[in-house]
């Protein structure tokens, strides 16, 4: 059912060494119960620079489009934008290797894109159309691709799931990690502590990632958390604080962490210090618990895209024209996605009944006609799509 439409494979080490490469100094990491940590000397190749720029720009542009579609009432219900946090997902993705898994919370659009979906699939899912990532059955927060176990609509529910995924990896002797993300708000869910205990008890290759954007919905971290040092809150789980606005620092930290887990020493708890420009969701203007000045200040001084752009331009790694060309393709890709997401059809009504159970004969579902039960014509959305010639 899920097709990986594009392979965004990680650039190999050899290629990186062969191309133009520059080094930068990243902010100091803070370590918890670790003797050493990732290097603050981070380098990047031309190809990677262009790729990271493209990915971050596309996510930013796609989220702006989602926000506009919401305001036009073409996206209904819920919608949580990732703008400001792009370096987190792009940096982590850059350090991932085949077979690594990700599970996150509701702010999942960028991740869905990075892990194999197109901008069209993301936006069409938000508008509930057939070309959506899960054909409109999930909508906001519920998007999935192979090895991406989703967005999740319940605060903190993904945390123990990530530990379970990591256990399976360990059991199968895979050299893989499960990146398990949550926000500073969900860091206070009891499930995290239950999951951390199991993960450490069994040394699971899970990297718990707290994307600390400063606010759990409308409450600042200082008002919700007895300790805001989220990288230390796993107690016996070692942790690292990372500047989440620096895509290179994030990538470096996750390369290091992956190696650490591959050596059988997992889990880890990483805090990415980041910021969200929009409100928690579309119903939150995001200005009642912080000042507009504060948001402007972050945009000016810490923006993950602007900062990265300055670095790669001033070091002559890439040219202004190259970045402009990327901006242009990103714009047209997102514009196309918007058009598609607003004109595509929706699955026919019987999709209401598909995917209820997997391994039983067609269920009699009450409903469909006013007084009768109804045998599901299709058990799975996949079968329904096949019958429509769309699979």
């Amino acid at each position: 059912m899920f097709k990986v439409l594009q392979s965004k494979a990680v650039v190999s080490l050899a290629r990186r060494a062969a191309s133009n490469e520059v080094s930068f100094q990243s902010k100091e990491y803070k370590l918890h119960k670790l003797d050493n940590g990732p290097s603050t000397q981070v380098s990047i190749s031309r190809d990677d620079a262009l790729k990271f720029y493209q990915q971050m720009q596309l996510i930013r542009r796609m989220e702006s489009a989602a926000g506009n579609l919401y305001k036009e009432k073409k996206i209904r219900g819920f919608c949580h934008l990732y703008s400001g946090q792009e370096a987190c997902a792009v940096g982590i993705k850059a350090a991932m290797t085949d077979g690594d898994a990700v599970i996150t919370a509701y702010r999942c659009h960028g991740w869905t894109y990075l892990l194999g979906s197109t901008a069209t699939q993301v936006l069409a899912e938000l508008t509930g159309r057939i070309s959506g990532n899960v054909h409109g059955k999930g909508g906001s927060m519920h998007m999935y691709t192979p090895n991406f176990f989703g967005g999740n609509g319940i605060v903190g529910a993904q945390q123990p799931l990530g530990a379970g995924v990591a256990f399976a990896m360990k059991y199968r002797n895979q050299k893989n990690v499960c990146v398990t993300l949550y926000g500073d708000g969900a860091a206070n869910q009891g499930q995290l502590f239950e999951a951390a205990n199991m993960a450490k008890l069994w040394n699971l290759p899970v990297i718990f990632v707290c994307e600390n954007n400063g606010f759990g919905m409308g409450t600042a971290v200082e008002r919700s958390s007895a300790s805001t040092e989220y990288y230390t809150r796993g107690d016996y789980v070692p942790g690292i604080w990372v500047d989440g606005m620096d895509v290179l620092a994030v990538r470096e930290a996750f390369r290091w962490s992956k190696k650490y887990c591959d050596e059988g020493r997992g889990p880890l708890m990483i805090e990415l210090a980041t910021y969200r420009y929009s409100g928690h969701s579309m119903s939150d203007p995001g200005t009642s618990y912080r000042t507009r000045d504060e948001i402007q200040q972050v945009r000016k001084t810490r923006d993950p895209i602007t900062g990265f752009k300055d670095r790669i331009l001033s070091s002559n790694l890439v040219t202004e024209d190259e970045l402009k060309a990327i901006d242009k393709t990103v714009r047209s890709e997102v514009d196309d996605a918007v058009t598609h997401a607003t004109t595509d059809g929706v699955l026919p009504a019987e999709a209401l009944y598909t995917d209820l159970y997997a391994n039983t004969p067609a269920q009699l579902v009450r409903g469909a006609t006013a007084e009768e039960t109804f045998a599901q014509p299709f058990l799975r959305t996949e079968d329904l799509l096949k019958s429509m010639g769309q699979a």
Binding site: G77, H142, L356, A370, P377
Partner: protein, 362 residues
């Protein structure tokens, strides 16, 4: 819809704009006994007003939950912190199990805890605390302790676009647990009176607020301190041919269907707002069905093991010899609450109308 038409092989084209809501709000008029002075309020303001009165009259009353300090996502608690201070109105971390357990502790020592769970769908992390701790405290301590001061407010129901985790109606998950009281208001007047009853009730209460009504439902609400008793249903419209029981938003759906049935079919429908789901007013429903001989129950939650099943079972026993047709249930289908399929999922006016037709012509 005929079964054959279901083998549709093409994608459905969406209309340019979807319908704003699946019902028309039918405002109520408060009886004179609730006081002469009235204020125009929507459901959100009525809930706010009830909490304001409860806090003003009970120094031990506390309001807490996610983001409630500045009003909460739905603005129901707006202004309460300014008026009663940060000690009495405060934000909690995002941890529903913690909120519920904390509230039970607060209530067990004798204070009044008004806890907000932002969405009924998020109440499940708190389910253990509510079912195993709150509901059984009195029973298991032989009456030494209780957490009667506990009221959990949560939003519920369809809102047009809420999808899987912002639309559910979890009342039946809780009616299976003795020790809890569950109330769902249909509008501002009821919300204020019933919430005050819940807050002051000596047993733990779950108060489910249909979020789609927060702004849409506007009524002239009595300004004073009044309560509406828990456990009493209200007959909104008398009739002689068929009784319909509903609660929350669905009251407005069935009222509209009742009107339609009178116009188009000449059928006289009695409409009952159950409003209190546990304990529920068996006598009121039984009396009505004894008169009409027919019963339809309608709720948004799925049919299977919904509270309609409990009503149907009780009424068929109490009214067996009066029944002229099988009891009908018009409910959500047995699927997760769907995203784009919400219009197909809901027990709409047309489905209720159809049930009236079938019941009367049985």
């Amino acid at each position: 819809m005929a079964a054959s038409s279901l083998a549709l092989k093409t994608a459905v084209r969406l209309p340019a704009r979807r319908f704003a809501s699946h019902f028309t709000y039918q405002p109520s008029v408060a009886p004179a006994s609730l006081g002469a002075e009235r204020t125009k309020m929507n459901l959100c303001q009525a809930v706010n007003n009830a909490m304001d009165i409860a806090m003003g009259t009970d120094q031990s009353a506390l309001v807490f939950g996610e983001d409630v300090a500045f009003g909460g996502v739905f603005r129901c608690t707006v202004g309460l912190q300014d008026k009663y201070g940060k000690d009495r109105v405060f934000n909690t971390p995002l941890c529903e199990q913690g909120i519920a357990g904390f509230a039970i502790g607060v209530a067990t020592i004798g204070s009044t805890a008004i806890a907000e769970i932002q969405f009924g769908d998020y109440i499940f992390p708190a389910y253990d605390q509510i079912v195993n701790e709150a509901a059984k405290y009195r029973y298991r301590s032989g009456g030494l302790f209780s957490c009667g001061g506990l009221t959990i407010r949560a939003t519920c129901g369809a809102v047009g676009h809420g999808a899987l985790y912002h639309s559910q109606s979890p009342e039946a998950n809780f009616t299976h647990t003795p020790g809890l009281k569950i109330v769902v208001p249909r509008g501002p007047i009821q919300a204020k009176g019933l919430l005050l009853s819940c807050i002051r009730d000596p047993d733990p209460c779950i108060f489910l607020e249909p979020k789609v009504l927060y702004r849409q439902a506007v009524e002239e609400v009595p300004s004073g301190d009044y309560s509406i008793p828990i456990g009493k249903a209200e007959v909104l419209k008398t009739g002689k041919d068929v009784s319909i029981v509903a609660w929350g938003t669905q009251v407005h759906v069935v009222s509209e269907a009742a009107k339609l049935a009178e116009e188009k079919l000449g059928v006289s429908v009695e409409v009952i707002d159950l409003q209190s789901i546990q304990p529920w007013d068996e006598d009121c429903v039984a009396e009505s069905v004894t008169k009409t001989g027919r019963l339809i129950i309608s709720h948004e939650a799925p049919l299977n093991s919904g509270f309609g099943a409990e009503i149907a079972s009780t009424i068929q026993k109490r009214c067996f010899l009066s029944l002229e047709s099988p009891i009908e249930r018009v409910c959500g289908w047995d699927t997760p609450f769907p995203h784009v399929y919400e219009p197909f999922y809901l027990p709409t006016v047309w489905r209720v109308f159809d049930a009236i037709k079938k019941t009367v012509k049985y």
